[in-house]
C-alpha cells in the first residue's frame, strides 16, 4: 500500500466513511474458486518403493501428476485470492489488473461473477499484453454451490494453447500442453465421494508420449477409492494409436488391485492385473507379455467393494 493510498484510507476513516475489505460477500466469491489443496489427494504410499507393486506405483504416479497439474493451474488463483478484490459490484468481484512481475508487459486479471440465483459462480483468469485492451482468457471455470457451504460441482479449464497463440512466454514443457480441464465435485456429505477428473491434451506428441491423458478418481470418506487413468497416443511400438487404460481400486488400508488394458491399437486386448497388500507389495500379478513377473494367484487379491464404474471424462 503506497503512502498516498494509506493517506486516502485514513482520510476516509476520519471522515466517517467506513473503509476496509470486511465482506461476507467476498468470502462467497472467493469460496467459489477451487484451491489446490481442495483438489489434492493424499493416498497411502509405500514405505519401500523398490518392492512396490508396478500398477500401485502407476496409480501413485497418476495421482501425483494430477496433484501437480492442479497446483500448476490453480496456484495462480491461490495467489490472487490472498488479496482483497480490487473492485466490487453486486454480482461480481474483480482482482487486478496486476502486472506480471515475471513477465514484464503482461497483466493478469481475475473476474468472478455470480448469477442471480446466488449459487452459480463463473470466473475467468485472463492475461493482456496491451494494457488491458485485449484479454486472453487462460483459466475459465465455474462452480455451482448447489450443496451449500463449499459443496458443489466445479470445472476449470486451463487454455495453454490460447496463451501460446498470444505469444505469452511459456516454457517448452508447458507450451506442449494444449489444455487441461479439471472437473470436480466435493460434496462433504458423509459417504459422498470426492470426484475429480482431469484431461490433458498435448500438442505435437511423439512416439511413446501421450497426445491426451485423462484421469478420473473418486475418494470416499474413509480414503478408499478408485481411479481410471486413460492415455491416448502411439504408446506401443507399431503404427496405430493406442488407448491404454489403468483402473485401480484401493482400500483405506492401502491394499488394492489394478488392471492395465490396451483398449485399442497395437496390442489391443492385452491386459495386466496386479494386486498388492497394505505394504504395497505385490500379492498377485498376471502379466501375459512378461510371464516371469507373474506372482501369486487371484485369490490373494483383497476383497474390494463394488463401486460405481468410472468413465473417461
Amino acid at each position: 500500500m503506497t503512502s498516498r493510498t494509506l493517506a486516502s484510507v485514513l482520510l476516509a476513516c476520519v471522515l466517517g466513511v467506513g473503509c476496509g475489505n470486511y465482506s461476507n460477500e467476498d468470502l462467497e466469491f472467493m469460496a467459489a474458486l477451487p484451491t489446490t489443496t481442495q483438489l489434492a489427494v493424499e493416498l497411502p504410499s509405500a514405505v519401500n518403493t523398490a518392492t512396490e507393486a508396478e500398477l500401485a506405483g502407476k496409480t501413485h504416479d497418476a495421482i501425483a501428476m494430477v496433484n501437480q497439474a492442479a497446483k500448476n493451474v490453480l496456484g495462480l488463483i491461490d495467489t490472487v485470492r490472498t488479496y482483497t478484490p480490487t473492485s466490487r459490484t453486486d454480482d461480481s468481484r474483480t482482482w487486478g489488473p496486476f502486472p506480471d512481475q515475471s513477465n514484464p508487459g503482461w497483466d493478469w486479471e481475475l473476474i468472478v461473477t455470480r448469477d442471480p440465483t446466488g449459487t452459480m459462480f463463473m470466473y475467468t483468469l485472463q492475461a493482456s499484453s496491451d494494457g488491458g485492451t485485449t484479454w486472453i482468457p487462460f483459466l475459465t471455470g465455474g462452480f455451482d454451490a448447489a450443496g451449500g457451504a463449499r459443496q458443489g460441482n466445479g470445472q476449470v479449464t486451463a487454455n495453454f494453447a490460447a496463451l501460446e497463440a498470444a505469444k505469452f512466454p511459456l516454457d517448452a514443457k508447458t507450451a506442449a500442453l494444449a489444455d487441461i480441464t479439471i472437473s470436480y465435485q466435493n460434496f462433504d456429505t458423509p459417504g459422498s465421494p470426492t470426484e475429480v477428473s482431469m484431461t490433458i491434451d498435448s500438442t505435437g506428441a511423439v512416439q511413446g508420449t501421450p497426445a491426451s491423458l485423462s484421469v478420473v478418481y473418486e475418494i470416499l470418506a474413509d480414503q478408499s477409492g478408485e481411479m481410471l487413468f486413460t492415455l491416448t497416443g502411439n504408446l506401443v511400438p507399431g503404427p496405430m494409436t493406442e488407448i491404454v487404460q489403468v483402473t485401480s481400486q484401493w482400500l483405506s488400508t492401502g491394499a488394492g488391485q489394478a488392471t492395465l488394458t490396451v483398449a485399442s491399437g497395437d496390442g489391443a486386448g492385452l491386459s495386466q492385473t496386479e494386486c498388492w497388500d497394505s505394504a504395497f507389495n505385490p500379492t498377485y500379478n498376471a502379466k501375459p507379455w512378461s510371464a516371469l513377473e507373474d506372482v501369486g494367484s487371484a485369490t490373494d487379491c483383497p476383497a474390494l467393494p463394488t463401486l460405481t464404474p468410472l468413465t473417461t471424462p
Partner: protein
C-alpha cells in the same frame, strides 16, 4: 420492696406518658428536594440528598409513619401540591378520629424571585405559605433550606427571642413554625466536605441526637434549631459567601415545644459517654459522607441515632486527628470509647468528602463489557457479539459544570463462524475502539446518573482458519449515545454501569445502516 415498687410504678407512668404524647400527635410530612432551579440558577449538588436524609430521620426517629410521609425528589410544583393535598386529606381523616395532628414541610433547593424553583416549575412562596397555613392540622412546621429563604417569614410571626425554649406540653402546641436556612439577604451554601448544605447537615446532625441539649433523649424543635443555627453560623463565618444565619419564627398557641425526634427509644446508634473528651465528632459513612457531626461538650453524653452500618470516626485536635472505626449493629447502641480512636495525621482525614467536587478533575476507570450488533443481514457471521475490556479516562467540570469529557479505549476478541449459503468459514474476530464522549451527569450522594453522546472510531479485523481467505478489516466512525449510573463506593471510587447505543454504517457489501449496543460495568477512580 415498697421503694422498688414505687420506682417501677413511676417509670411505668413515665413511659406510658411518653407513649401517650406520641400517640396524640399524628404527624404528616412532605419532604421536597430538587437540585435543579431552572434558568438563571446553577444546579445544586445535594438538595435531593438532603431531603432524603431528612425523610429517613423523620420516618425512623420522628414518629412519622412511612405512609404519612411523602418524599418528592426532583419533582415539579404539581408534585408538591399533590403531596400537600394528600397530607391534608390524611390529616382531616385523622382529626375526624380525634387525633392531634402536625404537618412538617421541608424543602431543599433553589428559591428565587418569591418562588421555590422546582426544576423548570415555580411554586410561589405565598401560595405555599397559604396552603400550609390553611392545612387542616394543629401544628405546622415549615423548614426551608434555600437561598434568601428568610423572606418567607410570615407577617405577624414572632422572631424567636432565644433558643432555650423548654419543652413542656407538646399536646397544647398549635400554630405555625417556620425555620429557614438563611436570612432574607443571604445565600444558603452547600459544602462538598460534608456532602450537603450546611443548614440541613447540621439540622440532621441535631435531629440524630447532637442537639439533645437537655439530655433526655428527645430533640425538640427549638433544640434542633439552636444546634443548626450555632453550627451553620460557625461553619460559614469564614466562607467566601459570608456567614449564613438561619432564622426561626413561630406563631404557636400555648407554651409547648415540639419533640421532633426521639433518639432514646430506638436504642440504636452510637453513644458518646460523658467521660469522652469534648469536641466535634464526625461520623462518616461508608461512602465518605458525614452522617453526623456532633458537637459534644465536656461532661455531657450524646446519643447519636445512626442507622446500622460501619462508620469511621474523627475528632480533630490542634495538632492531629483522633480517628477510628466502629460497627453499629441493628438494634444496638454502641459506646464510642476513646480507646476506639487512635492518633492520625491530618493527611489521614477520613472526611475527604464523599462528595461531588465542583472543580475540574480527572478520573480513570477500567472494566468489562459486551457488545452486539443488532440483527444484521448475515447475523453474527459479520460482526459477532464480543466481550470487551474497557479503559476510560474522564475530565469532569472542565468544559462546564457537570459536563464530562471522556475518552475510552476498548478491545476484545472472539471466535465465530461465517455461516453463509456457500461458505462455512471459522474466523477469529478482534475489535478495537477509540472514542470520545461528552456527557451530562447529575451527581447525588450515592448515585450519579449520566447521559451523553459518543463518537467512536471502530477498528475491526478477522482472520480465517487456513489460508483460503485473506484477513479482513473494517474501520469507521460510529456516533452513538451513552447513559448509565455511577454508584459511589467510597470517596474516590465508583462502580459504573453503562449502556450504549451506536449507529454503524457498513458500506463494503453495499450501504447498510446497522446499529450495536453495549453494556459494561467498571470501577472508576477519581484523582
Amino acid at each position: 420492696m415498697r421503694l422498688g415498687a414505687a420506682l417501677a410504678a413511676l417509670l411505668g407512668a413515665l413511659v406510658a406518658g411518653r407513649a401517650a404524647q406520641a400517640q396524640t400527635l399524628h404527624r404528616f410530612a412532605v419532604i421536597v428536594g430538587n437540585d435543579q432551579g431552572g434558568a438563571d440558577t446553577r444546579p445544586l449538588l445535594y438538595a435531593g440528598a438532603d431531603a432524603a436524609k431528612v425523610y429517613d430521620i423523620l420516618t425512623r426517629l420522628g414518629g412519622v409513619q412511612p405512609q404519612d410521609a411523602k418524599l418528592v425528589v426532583d419533582g415539579g410544583s404539581s408534585d408538591v401540591l399533590a403531596a400537600l393535598a394528600r397530607a391534608g386529606q390524611q390529616a382531616t381523616e385523622a382529626a375526624r378520629h380525634g387525633e392531634h395532628t402536625a404537618l412538617l414541610f421541608y424543602y431543599s433547593g433553589h428559591a428565587k424571585d418569591g418562588a421555590l424553583r422546582l426544576g423548570e416549575t415555580r411554586l410561589p412562596i405565598d401560595t405555599l405559605r397559604g396552603l400550609v397555613a390553611s392545612a387542616p392540622v394543629d401544628v405546622r412546621i415549615v423548614i426551608l433550606d434555600a437561598c434568601r429563604s428568610g423572606t418567607v417569614r410570615s407577617k405577624g410571626a414572632r422572631k424567636a427571642p432565644a433558643f432555650a425554649v423548654e419543652s413542656e406540653s407538646p399536646r397544647d402546641a398549635k400554630g405555625l413554625v417556620i425555620l429557614t436556612s438563611s436570612a432574607s439577604d443571604e445565600d444558603s451554601q452547600e459544602s462538598d466536605a460534608i456532602g450537603g448544605s450546611y443548614f440541613s447537615h447540621h439540622l440532621a446532625s441535631g435531629l440524630l441526637g447532637g442537639a439533645d441539649r437537655s439530655g433526655d433523649g428527645r430533640v425538640t424543635l427549638f433544640e434542633a434549631y439552636a444546634y443548626a443555627y450555632d453550627r451553620t453560623v460557625a461553619d460559614t463565618a469564614d466562607s467566601a459567601a459570608g456567614p449564613q444565619h438561619p432564622t426561626f419564627s413561630y406563631d404557636l398557641a400555648g407554651n409547648g415545644d415540639l419533640v421532633l425526634t426521639d433518639v432514646a427509644t430506638r436504642h440504636e446508634g452510637v453513644y458518646i459517654p460523658r467521660q469522652a473528651p469534648g469536641g466535634v465528632y464526625f461520623l462518616v459513612d461508608r461512602q465518605g459522607f458525614v452522617a453526623a457531626e456532633i458537637n459534644k461538650g465536656d461532661g455531657v453524653d450524646r446519643r447519636v441515632a445512626l442507622a446500622p452500618g460501619r462508620y469511621r470516626v474523627k475528632r480533630r485536635l490542634a495538632d492531629r486527628l483522633r480517628v477510628g472505626e466502629l460497627d453499629v449493629p441493628r438494634g444496638e447502641l454502641v459506646t464510642l470509647d476513646e480507646d476506639h480512636l487512635h492518633d492520625a495525621p491530618f493527611s489521614a482525614d477520613p472526611v475527604k468528602g464523599g462528595r461531588v467536587d465542583l472543580s475540574s478533575r480527572w478520573s480513570m476507570g477500567a472494566g468489562i463489557g459486551y457488545q452486539a450488533v443488532f440483527e444484521a443481514p448475515d447475523g453474527a457471521s459479520l460482526f459477532p457479539p464480543t466481550g470487551l475490556v474497557d479503559v476510560d479516562v474522564a475530565l469532569r467540570n472542565f468544559l462546564r459544570h457537570d459536563w464530562v469529557l471522556g475518552f475510552d479505549l476498548a478491545g476484545g476478541s472472539t471466535n465465530a463462524v461465517a455461516a453463509l449459503p456457500a461458505v462455512n468459514a471459522p474466523f477469529h474476530f478482534t475489535e478495537l475502539s477509540l472514542a470520545a464522549s461528552l456527557s451530562v451527569e447529575w451527581p447525588h450522594r450515592i448515585f450519579t446518573p449520566f447521559v451523553g453522546g459518543r463518537l467512536a472510531l471502530l477498528l475491526m479485523n478477522r482472520t480465517f482458519d487456513g489460508d483460503q481467505f485473506p484477513s479482513q478489516f473494517f474501520s469507521t466512525l460510529s456516533p452513538g449515545v451513552t447513559g448509565g449510573v455511577a454508584v459511589r463506593l467510597s470517596s474516590s471510587t465508583s462502580l459504573v454501569v453503562r449502556g450504549r447505543l451506536h449507529y454503524l454504517l457498513y458500506n463494503i457489501d453495499g450501504n447498510r445502516s446497522l446499529g450495536y449496543w453495549e453494556l459494561a460495568t467498571m470501577v472508576a477512580y477519581d484523582f
